[in-house]
Protein backbone atom coordinates (compact mmCIF):
# COMPACT_ATOMS: atom_id res chain seq x y z
CA UNK A 1 0.00 0.00 0.00
CA UNK A 2 1.40 3.41 -0.88
CA UNK A 3 1.74 6.26 1.55
CA UNK A 4 -0.69 8.72 -0.03
CA UNK A 5 -3.75 6.52 -0.11
CA UNK A 6 -2.82 5.28 3.32
CA UNK A 7 -3.05 8.82 4.60
CA UNK A 8 -6.34 9.75 2.99
CA UNK A 9 -8.38 6.58 2.91
CA UNK A 10 -9.16 4.44 5.90
CA UNK A 11 -7.41 1.09 5.94
CA UNK A 12 -9.42 -1.55 4.05
CA UNK A 13 -11.30 -3.85 6.37
CA UNK A 14 -9.47 -7.11 6.87
CA UNK A 15 -11.06 -9.91 4.90
CA UNK A 16 -12.60 -12.90 6.63
CA UNK A 17 -13.10 -16.26 4.94
CA UNK A 18 -16.68 -16.72 3.74
CA UNK A 19 -18.63 -18.40 6.48
CA UNK A 20 -21.10 -21.03 5.33
CA UNK A 21 -24.61 -19.67 5.69
CA UNK A 22 -26.85 -21.51 8.09
CA UNK A 23 -29.32 -23.39 5.89
CA UNK A 24 -32.87 -22.54 6.91
CA UNK A 25 -34.63 -25.35 5.05
CA UNK A 26 -34.99 -28.62 6.97
CA UNK A 27 -32.35 -30.36 4.85
CA UNK A 28 -32.47 -33.46 2.68
CA UNK A 29 -35.25 -35.81 3.80
CA UNK A 30 -34.45 -39.41 4.62
CA UNK A 31 -36.66 -42.15 3.19
CA UNK A 32 -37.72 -43.71 6.46
CA UNK A 33 -37.07 -40.72 8.68
CA UNK A 34 -40.58 -40.76 10.17
CA UNK A 35 -39.76 -44.09 11.87
CA UNK A 36 -37.30 -42.34 14.20
CA UNK A 37 -39.82 -40.96 16.69
CA UNK A 38 -41.73 -44.24 17.19
CA UNK A 39 -38.40 -46.08 17.39
CA UNK A 40 -37.14 -43.82 20.17
CA UNK A 41 -40.39 -44.23 22.08
CA UNK A 42 -40.10 -48.00 21.78
CA UNK A 43 -36.53 -47.88 23.04
CA UNK A 44 -37.53 -45.77 26.04
CA UNK A 45 -40.35 -48.17 26.87
CA UNK A 46 -38.05 -51.22 26.53
CA UNK A 47 -35.42 -49.69 28.80
CA UNK A 48 -38.00 -48.84 31.47
CA UNK A 49 -39.43 -52.38 31.34
CA UNK A 50 -36.05 -54.15 31.34
CA UNK A 51 -34.77 -52.17 34.32
CA UNK A 52 -37.95 -52.85 36.28
CA UNK A 53 -38.92 -49.19 36.53
CA UNK A 54 -42.19 -50.03 34.82
CA UNK A 55 -44.44 -52.47 36.68
CA UNK A 56 -45.77 -55.06 34.17
CA UNK A 57 -49.17 -54.71 35.86
CA UNK A 58 -49.21 -51.06 34.84
CA UNK A 59 -47.88 -51.59 31.35
CA UNK A 60 -46.38 -54.89 30.15
CA UNK A 61 -43.03 -54.89 28.37
CA UNK A 62 -42.89 -54.50 24.58
CA UNK A 63 -41.74 -58.09 24.14
CA UNK A 64 -44.77 -59.30 26.13
CA UNK A 65 -46.88 -57.66 23.46
CA UNK A 66 -44.98 -59.64 20.84
CA UNK A 67 -45.20 -63.02 22.61
CA UNK A 68 -48.86 -62.53 23.55
CA UNK A 69 -49.51 -61.35 20.02
CA UNK A 70 -47.86 -64.50 18.68
CA UNK A 71 -50.01 -66.62 21.00
CA UNK A 72 -53.15 -64.84 19.82
CA UNK A 73 -52.14 -65.38 16.21
CA UNK A 74 -51.58 -69.09 16.91
CA UNK A 75 -55.06 -69.32 18.41
CA UNK A 76 -56.40 -67.45 15.38
CA UNK A 77 -58.10 -64.80 17.49
CA UNK A 78 -55.99 -61.86 16.39
CA UNK A 79 -56.38 -62.39 12.64
CA UNK A 80 -60.12 -62.97 12.72
CA UNK A 81 -60.72 -59.92 14.91
CA UNK A 82 -58.35 -57.83 12.84
CA UNK A 83 -60.15 -58.69 9.61
CA UNK A 84 -63.48 -57.71 11.14
CA UNK A 85 -62.09 -54.40 12.45
CA UNK A 86 -60.31 -53.54 9.23
CA UNK A 87 -63.42 -54.28 7.20
CA UNK A 88 -65.49 -52.01 9.47
CA UNK A 89 -62.99 -49.17 9.27
CA UNK A 90 -62.56 -49.57 5.51
CA UNK A 91 -66.27 -49.59 4.73
CA UNK A 92 -66.87 -46.62 7.04
CA UNK A 93 -64.00 -44.73 5.42
CA UNK A 94 -65.29 -45.58 1.97
CA UNK A 95 -68.83 -44.42 2.70
CA UNK A 96 -67.73 -41.30 4.58
CA UNK A 97 -65.01 -40.46 2.09
CA UNK A 98 -67.29 -40.84 -0.93
CA UNK A 99 -69.93 -38.67 0.69
CA UNK A 100 -67.27 -36.15 1.72
CA UNK A 101 -65.85 -35.82 -1.78
CA UNK A 102 -69.25 -35.67 -3.49
CA UNK A 103 -70.63 -33.04 -1.15
CA UNK A 104 -67.37 -31.06 -1.25
CA UNK A 105 -67.60 -30.90 -5.04
CA UNK A 106 -71.28 -29.94 -4.91
CA UNK A 107 -70.70 -27.17 -2.43
CA UNK A 108 -67.31 -26.13 -3.77
CA UNK A 109 -68.30 -25.82 -7.41
CA UNK A 110 -71.81 -24.42 -7.25
CA UNK A 111 -72.84 -21.35 -5.34
CA UNK A 112 -76.23 -22.76 -4.36
CA UNK A 113 -74.63 -26.04 -3.26
CA UNK A 114 -72.24 -24.07 -1.11
CA UNK A 115 -75.02 -22.09 0.52
CA UNK A 116 -77.03 -25.21 1.30
CA UNK A 117 -74.41 -27.83 2.14
CA UNK A 118 -71.54 -25.94 3.71
CA UNK A 119 -73.66 -24.27 6.36
CA UNK A 120 -75.15 -27.56 7.47
CA UNK A 121 -71.74 -29.24 7.57
CA UNK A 122 -70.22 -26.44 9.62
CA UNK A 123 -73.12 -26.66 12.06
CA UNK A 124 -72.86 -30.42 12.42
CA UNK A 125 -69.10 -30.17 12.77
CA UNK A 126 -69.49 -28.61 16.18
CA UNK A 127 -71.20 -31.71 17.58
CA UNK A 128 -68.75 -34.30 18.92
CA UNK A 129 -69.05 -37.76 17.39
CA UNK A 130 -69.61 -39.34 20.81
CA UNK A 131 -72.73 -37.23 21.30
CA UNK A 132 -74.21 -38.57 18.07
CA UNK A 133 -73.86 -42.24 19.00
CA UNK A 134 -77.14 -42.49 20.97
CA UNK A 135 -79.01 -41.22 17.91
CA UNK A 136 -77.07 -43.55 15.66
CA UNK A 137 -78.18 -46.46 17.83
CA UNK A 138 -81.74 -45.18 17.67
CA UNK A 139 -81.65 -44.95 13.87
CA UNK A 140 -79.44 -47.88 12.88
CA UNK A 141 -79.83 -50.29 15.80
CA UNK A 142 -76.87 -51.74 17.62
CA UNK A 143 -75.54 -53.93 14.81
CA UNK A 144 -73.05 -53.43 12.00
CA UNK A 145 -74.86 -50.60 10.15
CA UNK A 146 -74.59 -48.38 13.23
CA UNK A 147 -70.86 -49.06 13.55
CA UNK A 148 -70.18 -48.32 9.90
CA UNK A 149 -72.36 -45.20 10.08
CA UNK A 150 -70.48 -43.78 13.08
CA UNK A 151 -67.11 -44.44 11.40
CA UNK A 152 -68.40 -42.90 8.16
CA UNK A 153 -69.55 -39.75 9.95
CA UNK A 154 -66.19 -39.45 11.70
CA UNK A 155 -64.25 -39.87 8.44
CA UNK A 156 -66.59 -37.60 6.48
CA UNK A 157 -65.70 -34.29 8.11
CA UNK A 158 -61.97 -34.00 7.56
CA UNK A 159 -62.30 -35.27 3.99
CA UNK A 160 -65.14 -32.87 3.22
CA UNK A 161 -63.47 -29.88 4.84
CA UNK A 162 -60.04 -30.32 3.27
CA UNK A 163 -61.41 -31.13 -0.19
CA UNK A 164 -63.83 -28.22 -0.03
CA UNK A 165 -61.21 -25.70 0.97
CA UNK A 166 -58.82 -26.98 -1.70
CA UNK A 167 -61.56 -26.53 -4.30
CA UNK A 168 -62.27 -23.02 -3.11
CA UNK A 169 -58.55 -22.23 -3.24
CA UNK A 170 -58.16 -23.10 -6.93
CA UNK A 171 -56.56 -20.09 -8.58
CA UNK A 172 -58.95 -17.89 -10.56
CA UNK A 173 -56.16 -17.37 -13.08
CA UNK A 174 -56.47 -21.04 -14.03
CA UNK A 175 -60.19 -20.56 -14.53
CA UNK A 176 -59.45 -17.66 -16.91
CA UNK A 177 -56.92 -19.83 -18.70
CA UNK A 178 -59.48 -22.61 -19.12
CA UNK A 179 -61.94 -20.10 -20.56
CA UNK A 180 -59.47 -18.70 -23.08
CA UNK A 181 -58.44 -22.21 -24.14
CA UNK A 182 -62.10 -23.07 -24.63
CA UNK A 183 -62.09 -26.07 -22.29
CA UNK A 184 -65.38 -27.89 -21.87
CA UNK A 185 -66.85 -28.19 -18.39
CA UNK A 186 -65.69 -31.80 -18.21
CA UNK A 187 -62.13 -30.93 -19.36
CA UNK A 188 -62.03 -28.10 -16.84
CA UNK A 189 -63.06 -30.51 -14.10
CA UNK A 190 -60.61 -33.21 -15.13
CA UNK A 191 -57.58 -31.08 -15.97
CA UNK A 192 -57.83 -28.24 -13.47
CA UNK A 193 -60.32 -28.81 -10.67
CA UNK A 194 -59.50 -32.41 -9.75
CA UNK A 195 -55.69 -32.11 -9.85
CA UNK A 196 -55.97 -28.77 -8.06
CA UNK A 197 -58.06 -30.26 -5.26
CA UNK A 198 -56.06 -33.49 -4.98
CA UNK A 199 -53.54 -32.26 -2.38
CA UNK A 200 -56.40 -31.11 -0.15
CA UNK A 201 -58.27 -34.38 -0.60
CA UNK A 202 -55.21 -36.45 0.31
CA UNK A 203 -54.63 -34.37 3.42
CA UNK A 204 -58.29 -34.89 4.33
CA UNK A 205 -57.91 -38.60 3.67
CA UNK A 206 -55.04 -38.81 6.16
CA UNK A 207 -57.12 -37.11 8.85
CA UNK A 208 -60.18 -39.10 7.83
CA UNK A 209 -58.38 -42.44 8.09
CA UNK A 210 -57.17 -41.56 11.58
CA UNK A 211 -60.68 -40.45 12.54
CA UNK A 212 -62.04 -43.75 11.21
CA UNK A 213 -59.73 -45.77 13.45
CA UNK A 214 -60.64 -43.63 16.47
CA UNK A 215 -64.34 -44.09 15.82
CA UNK A 216 -63.73 -47.81 15.40
CA UNK A 217 -62.28 -48.04 18.90
CA UNK A 218 -65.33 -46.34 20.34
CA UNK A 219 -67.97 -48.39 18.51
CA UNK A 220 -66.21 -51.69 19.10
CA UNK A 221 -66.18 -51.19 22.84
CA UNK A 222 -69.81 -50.17 22.77
CA UNK A 223 -71.44 -53.37 21.69
CA UNK A 224 -69.63 -55.95 19.66
CA UNK A 225 -68.99 -59.66 19.52
CA UNK A 226 -65.94 -59.44 17.28
CA UNK A 227 -63.15 -57.06 16.36
CA UNK A 228 -60.05 -55.76 18.08
CA UNK A 229 -62.10 -53.53 20.38
CA UNK A 230 -64.15 -56.51 21.48
CA UNK A 231 -60.94 -58.44 22.18
CA UNK A 232 -59.66 -55.57 24.32
CA UNK A 233 -62.94 -55.19 26.20
CA UNK A 234 -62.99 -58.90 26.92
CA UNK A 235 -59.39 -58.82 28.13
CA UNK A 236 -60.21 -55.89 30.39
CA UNK A 237 -62.91 -57.95 32.09
CA UNK A 238 -60.34 -60.65 32.84
CA UNK A 239 -57.57 -58.13 33.67
CA UNK A 240 -55.37 -59.51 30.86
CA UNK A 241 -53.19 -56.41 30.49
CA UNK A 242 -50.99 -58.14 27.92
CA UNK A 243 -53.93 -58.79 25.57
CA UNK A 244 -55.14 -55.22 26.10
CA UNK A 245 -51.66 -54.05 25.18
CA UNK A 246 -51.67 -56.15 22.00
CA UNK A 247 -54.94 -54.45 21.08
CA UNK A 248 -53.41 -51.02 21.56
CA UNK A 249 -50.32 -51.93 19.57
CA UNK A 250 -52.47 -53.25 16.74
CA UNK A 251 -54.50 -50.02 16.71
CA UNK A 252 -51.32 -47.99 16.63
CA UNK A 253 -49.83 -50.05 13.82
CA UNK A 254 -53.05 -49.83 11.83
CA UNK A 255 -53.21 -46.07 12.22
CA UNK A 256 -49.55 -45.64 11.41
CA UNK A 257 -49.78 -48.04 8.47
CA UNK A 258 -52.77 -46.24 6.98
CA UNK A 259 -51.11 -42.88 7.38
CA UNK A 260 -47.94 -44.16 5.72
CA UNK A 261 -49.97 -45.58 2.86
CA UNK A 262 -51.68 -42.25 2.22
CA UNK A 263 -48.36 -40.42 2.46
CA UNK A 264 -46.88 -42.83 -0.05
CA UNK A 265 -49.81 -42.14 -2.38
CA UNK A 266 -49.23 -38.41 -1.83
CA UNK A 267 -45.61 -38.70 -2.90
CA UNK A 268 -46.59 -40.62 -6.01
CA UNK A 269 -49.52 -38.45 -7.03
CA UNK A 270 -48.07 -35.03 -6.18
CA UNK A 271 -44.66 -35.45 -7.77
CA UNK A 272 -45.11 -32.11 -9.52
CA UNK A 273 -44.96 -30.26 -6.23
CA UNK A 274 -41.81 -28.70 -4.95
CA UNK A 275 -42.18 -28.09 -1.25
CA UNK A 276 -40.11 -27.68 1.87
CA UNK A 277 -40.90 -31.03 3.45
CA UNK A 278 -41.65 -34.12 1.39
Amino acid sequence: MNAISGDILPAPPSLAPLAQRTPLGPGIPSRNGHLLGPGLLLLYWAVLSATGWLDPRTLPAPWTAITTGADLVREGRLQSNLVVSAARAASGLLVGGTAGVLLAFLSGLSLLGGYVIDGIVQLKRGIPILAVIPFMILWFGIGEPMKVAVIAVAAFFPIYIQTHSALRAIDLRYVELAETLGLSRWQFLRRIVIPGALPGFLLGLRFGATAAWLALVVVEQLNASSGIGYMVTLARNYAQTDVMLVGLVVYALLGFGTDSAVRWAERRLLRWRRTLGR
Binding site: R173, Y174, E176, L177, A178, E179, T180, L181, G182, L183, S184, Q187, R191, I192, P195, G196, L198, L270, R271, W272, R273, R274
Partner: protein, 227 residues
Amino acid sequence: MSAAVRICDLKRTFTLKGVLNGVDLDIAPGEFVALLGRSGSGKSTLLRALAGIDHEAEGTGEIALPPRLSVIFQDARLLPWMRVLDNVTLGLPRDAHARALQALEEVGLAGRERSWPHELSGGEQQRVALARALVREPALLLADEPFGALDALTRIQMHELLRQLSQRHQPAVLLVTHDIDEALALADRIVMLDDGRISADLQVAGRGDRTLIALQRKRLLAMLGVT
Protein backbone atom coordinates in the same frame (compact mmCIF):
# COMPACT_ATOMS: atom_id res chain seq x y z
CA MET B 1 -59.05 -5.95 -46.91
CA SER B 2 -61.66 -7.04 -44.38
CA ALA B 3 -60.74 -6.70 -40.74
CA ALA B 4 -59.59 -9.55 -38.53
CA VAL B 5 -60.84 -7.67 -35.53
CA ARG B 6 -63.54 -5.04 -35.37
CA ILE B 7 -64.40 -3.17 -32.22
CA CYS B 8 -67.19 -0.59 -32.21
CA ASP B 9 -67.93 1.88 -29.46
CA LEU B 10 -66.82 -0.47 -26.72
CA LYS B 11 -67.61 0.64 -23.17
CA ARG B 12 -66.76 -1.11 -19.96
CA THR B 13 -67.16 -0.10 -16.35
CA PHE B 14 -65.96 -1.75 -13.20
CA THR B 15 -66.54 -1.05 -9.59
CA LEU B 16 -62.82 -1.23 -8.94
CA LYS B 17 -60.47 -0.87 -11.89
CA GLY B 18 -60.16 0.48 -15.44
CA VAL B 19 -62.90 1.74 -17.71
CA LEU B 20 -63.42 2.00 -21.44
CA ASN B 21 -65.27 5.03 -22.78
CA GLY B 22 -66.13 4.08 -26.34
CA VAL B 23 -63.25 2.36 -28.10
CA ASP B 24 -63.27 1.86 -31.88
CA LEU B 25 -60.51 -0.25 -33.36
CA ASP B 26 -60.00 -2.38 -36.45
CA ILE B 27 -57.09 -4.75 -36.81
CA ALA B 28 -56.27 -6.20 -40.25
CA PRO B 29 -55.39 -9.89 -40.67
CA GLY B 30 -51.71 -10.42 -39.90
CA GLU B 31 -51.29 -6.93 -38.48
CA PHE B 32 -49.18 -6.51 -35.36
CA VAL B 33 -50.71 -3.83 -33.13
CA ALA B 34 -49.20 -2.64 -29.89
CA LEU B 35 -51.62 -1.14 -27.40
CA LEU B 36 -49.73 1.43 -25.41
CA GLY B 37 -50.85 3.36 -22.38
CA ARG B 38 -50.14 4.29 -18.80
CA SER B 39 -51.29 1.96 -16.09
CA GLY B 40 -54.99 2.43 -15.49
CA SER B 41 -55.58 3.61 -19.05
CA GLY B 42 -57.79 0.60 -19.79
CA LYS B 43 -55.32 -1.49 -21.85
CA SER B 44 -55.88 -4.67 -19.91
CA THR B 45 -59.60 -4.01 -19.70
CA LEU B 46 -59.76 -3.91 -23.48
CA LEU B 47 -57.75 -7.08 -23.82
CA ARG B 48 -59.82 -8.93 -21.23
CA ALA B 49 -62.97 -7.84 -23.04
CA LEU B 50 -61.58 -9.28 -26.28
CA ALA B 51 -60.52 -12.48 -24.55
CA GLY B 52 -64.03 -12.83 -23.14
CA ILE B 53 -62.92 -13.12 -19.54
CA ASP B 54 -64.27 -9.82 -18.20
CA HIS B 55 -67.33 -11.36 -16.53
CA GLU B 56 -67.15 -8.85 -13.71
CA ALA B 57 -67.49 -5.90 -16.10
CA GLU B 58 -70.59 -4.20 -17.35
CA GLY B 59 -70.69 -2.55 -20.72
CA THR B 60 -72.00 -2.10 -24.20
CA GLY B 61 -70.59 -2.13 -27.70
CA GLU B 62 -69.75 -4.71 -30.30
CA ILE B 63 -66.78 -6.97 -30.82
CA ALA B 64 -66.21 -9.17 -33.85
CA LEU B 65 -63.37 -11.64 -33.55
CA PRO B 66 -61.94 -14.55 -35.51
CA PRO B 67 -62.98 -17.90 -34.03
CA ARG B 68 -59.42 -19.07 -33.40
CA LEU B 69 -57.85 -16.82 -30.81
CA SER B 70 -55.07 -17.35 -28.28
CA VAL B 71 -54.18 -15.40 -25.18
CA ILE B 72 -50.78 -14.97 -23.53
CA PHE B 73 -50.81 -13.56 -20.02
CA GLN B 74 -48.13 -11.72 -18.11
CA ASP B 75 -47.48 -14.88 -16.10
CA ALA B 76 -46.94 -18.03 -18.15
CA ARG B 77 -49.93 -19.57 -16.40
CA LEU B 78 -48.82 -23.16 -16.83
CA LEU B 79 -50.62 -25.78 -14.79
CA PRO B 80 -48.01 -26.99 -12.29
CA TRP B 81 -49.40 -30.54 -12.22
CA MET B 82 -48.92 -31.11 -15.93
CA ARG B 83 -45.75 -31.70 -17.84
CA VAL B 84 -44.76 -29.16 -20.49
CA LEU B 85 -46.22 -31.11 -23.40
CA ASP B 86 -49.57 -31.62 -21.65
CA ASN B 87 -49.69 -27.92 -20.89
CA VAL B 88 -49.23 -27.15 -24.58
CA THR B 89 -51.92 -29.59 -25.73
CA LEU B 90 -54.35 -28.70 -22.93
CA GLY B 91 -57.87 -28.95 -24.32
CA LEU B 92 -56.77 -30.18 -27.74
CA PRO B 93 -57.56 -33.60 -29.23
CA ARG B 94 -55.00 -36.37 -28.87
CA ASP B 95 -53.63 -35.97 -32.39
CA ALA B 96 -52.24 -32.54 -31.45
CA HIS B 97 -49.12 -34.08 -29.90
CA ALA B 98 -47.02 -33.95 -33.05
CA ARG B 99 -47.94 -30.31 -33.64
CA ALA B 100 -47.22 -29.50 -30.00
CA LEU B 101 -43.75 -31.01 -30.24
CA GLN B 102 -43.17 -28.92 -33.33
CA ALA B 103 -44.37 -25.77 -31.54
CA LEU B 104 -42.02 -26.51 -28.63
CA GLU B 105 -39.19 -26.85 -31.10
CA GLU B 106 -40.12 -23.53 -32.67
CA VAL B 107 -39.86 -21.75 -29.32
CA GLY B 108 -36.51 -23.42 -28.67
CA LEU B 109 -37.64 -25.99 -26.11
CA ALA B 110 -37.14 -29.20 -28.07
CA GLY B 111 -36.48 -32.06 -25.67
CA ARG B 112 -38.09 -30.34 -22.69
CA GLU B 113 -41.59 -31.75 -23.25
CA ARG B 114 -41.35 -34.09 -20.23
CA SER B 115 -40.23 -31.35 -17.81
CA TRP B 116 -42.42 -30.05 -15.02
CA PRO B 117 -43.14 -26.29 -15.20
CA HIS B 118 -41.24 -25.60 -11.98
CA GLU B 119 -38.09 -27.00 -13.57
CA LEU B 120 -38.10 -24.20 -16.16
CA SER B 121 -36.87 -20.64 -15.86
CA GLY B 122 -39.31 -17.74 -16.17
CA GLY B 123 -38.34 -17.14 -19.79
CA GLU B 124 -38.70 -20.83 -20.64
CA GLN B 125 -42.12 -20.94 -18.99
CA GLN B 126 -43.23 -17.99 -21.11
CA ARG B 127 -41.92 -19.84 -24.18
CA VAL B 128 -44.16 -22.77 -23.27
CA ALA B 129 -47.07 -20.34 -23.03
CA LEU B 130 -46.13 -19.07 -26.49
CA ALA B 131 -46.07 -22.64 -27.81
CA ARG B 132 -49.46 -23.29 -26.19
CA ALA B 133 -50.83 -20.22 -27.99
CA LEU B 134 -49.24 -21.06 -31.36
CA VAL B 135 -50.27 -24.70 -31.52
CA ARG B 136 -53.87 -23.52 -31.76
CA GLU B 137 -52.96 -21.70 -35.00
CA PRO B 138 -54.70 -18.50 -33.92
CA ALA B 139 -55.92 -15.87 -36.34
CA LEU B 140 -55.63 -13.43 -33.44
CA LEU B 141 -53.04 -13.48 -30.68
CA LEU B 142 -53.80 -11.40 -27.59
CA ALA B 143 -50.84 -10.73 -25.34
CA ASP B 144 -51.16 -8.90 -22.02
CA GLU B 145 -47.69 -7.57 -21.15
CA PRO B 146 -46.27 -11.01 -21.83
CA PHE B 147 -42.67 -10.04 -21.14
CA GLY B 148 -43.28 -7.71 -18.21
CA ALA B 149 -42.07 -10.21 -15.64
CA LEU B 150 -38.90 -11.20 -17.48
CA ASP B 151 -35.39 -9.84 -17.05
CA ALA B 152 -34.08 -7.40 -19.68
CA LEU B 153 -31.89 -9.90 -21.56
CA THR B 154 -34.55 -12.59 -21.71
CA ARG B 155 -37.00 -9.94 -22.84
CA ILE B 156 -34.84 -9.05 -25.84
CA GLN B 157 -34.62 -12.72 -26.80
CA MET B 158 -38.37 -13.09 -26.46
CA HIS B 159 -38.95 -10.03 -28.66
CA GLU B 160 -36.90 -11.63 -31.39
CA LEU B 161 -38.74 -14.94 -30.97
CA LEU B 162 -42.18 -13.32 -31.06
CA ARG B 163 -41.26 -11.30 -34.14
CA GLN B 164 -40.05 -14.38 -35.99
CA LEU B 165 -43.05 -16.45 -35.01
CA SER B 166 -45.60 -13.79 -35.88
CA GLN B 167 -43.93 -13.30 -39.28
CA ARG B 168 -44.01 -17.04 -39.94
CA HIS B 169 -47.57 -17.71 -38.73
CA GLN B 170 -49.10 -14.32 -39.59
CA PRO B 171 -51.71 -14.00 -36.86
CA ALA B 172 -53.14 -10.59 -36.11
CA VAL B 173 -51.51 -9.57 -32.84
CA LEU B 174 -52.70 -7.22 -30.14
CA LEU B 175 -49.85 -6.68 -27.71
CA VAL B 176 -50.64 -4.76 -24.55
CA THR B 177 -47.56 -3.06 -23.18
CA HIS B 178 -46.36 0.02 -21.39
CA ASP B 179 -42.91 -0.31 -22.88
CA ILE B 180 -42.45 2.09 -25.80
CA ASP B 181 -39.29 0.36 -27.01
CA GLU B 182 -41.06 -2.97 -27.03
CA ALA B 183 -43.91 -1.48 -29.04
CA LEU B 184 -41.49 0.12 -31.53
CA ALA B 185 -39.44 -3.04 -31.86
CA LEU B 186 -42.36 -5.35 -32.57
CA ALA B 187 -45.45 -3.57 -33.87
CA ASP B 188 -46.55 -2.41 -37.31
CA ARG B 189 -48.90 0.00 -35.64
CA ILE B 190 -49.14 1.59 -32.24
CA VAL B 191 -52.48 2.46 -30.70
CA MET B 192 -52.40 4.59 -27.61
CA LEU B 193 -55.09 4.38 -24.99
CA ASP B 194 -55.69 7.19 -22.56
CA ASP B 195 -58.46 7.35 -20.01
CA GLY B 196 -60.47 4.63 -21.74
CA ARG B 197 -60.27 6.23 -25.20
CA ILE B 198 -57.94 5.79 -28.12
CA SER B 199 -55.82 8.93 -28.14
CA ALA B 200 -53.43 8.09 -30.97
CA ASP B 201 -53.13 5.57 -33.80
CA LEU B 202 -49.79 5.53 -35.60
CA GLN B 203 -48.05 3.38 -38.18
CA VAL B 204 -44.50 2.51 -37.17
CA ALA B 205 -42.19 3.69 -39.90
CA GLY B 206 -38.58 2.96 -40.75
CA ARG B 207 -37.73 -0.06 -38.63
CA GLY B 208 -33.94 -0.33 -38.64
CA ASP B 209 -33.56 3.40 -39.13
CA ARG B 210 -32.31 4.58 -35.78
CA THR B 211 -33.03 8.27 -36.19
CA LEU B 212 -36.59 7.64 -37.35
CA ILE B 213 -37.25 5.25 -34.45
CA ALA B 214 -35.73 7.71 -32.00
CA LEU B 215 -37.98 10.42 -33.38
CA GLN B 216 -41.10 8.29 -32.97
CA ARG B 217 -39.97 7.27 -29.52
CA LYS B 218 -39.69 10.91 -28.52
CA ARG B 219 -43.13 11.64 -29.90
CA LEU B 220 -44.73 8.72 -28.08
CA LEU B 221 -43.04 9.71 -24.84
CA ALA B 222 -44.41 13.22 -25.23
CA MET B 223 -47.90 11.83 -25.80
CA LEU B 224 -47.63 9.81 -22.62
CA GLY B 225 -46.64 12.98 -20.81
CA VAL B 226 -43.03 11.93 -20.24
CA THR B 227 -40.54 14.50 -21.48
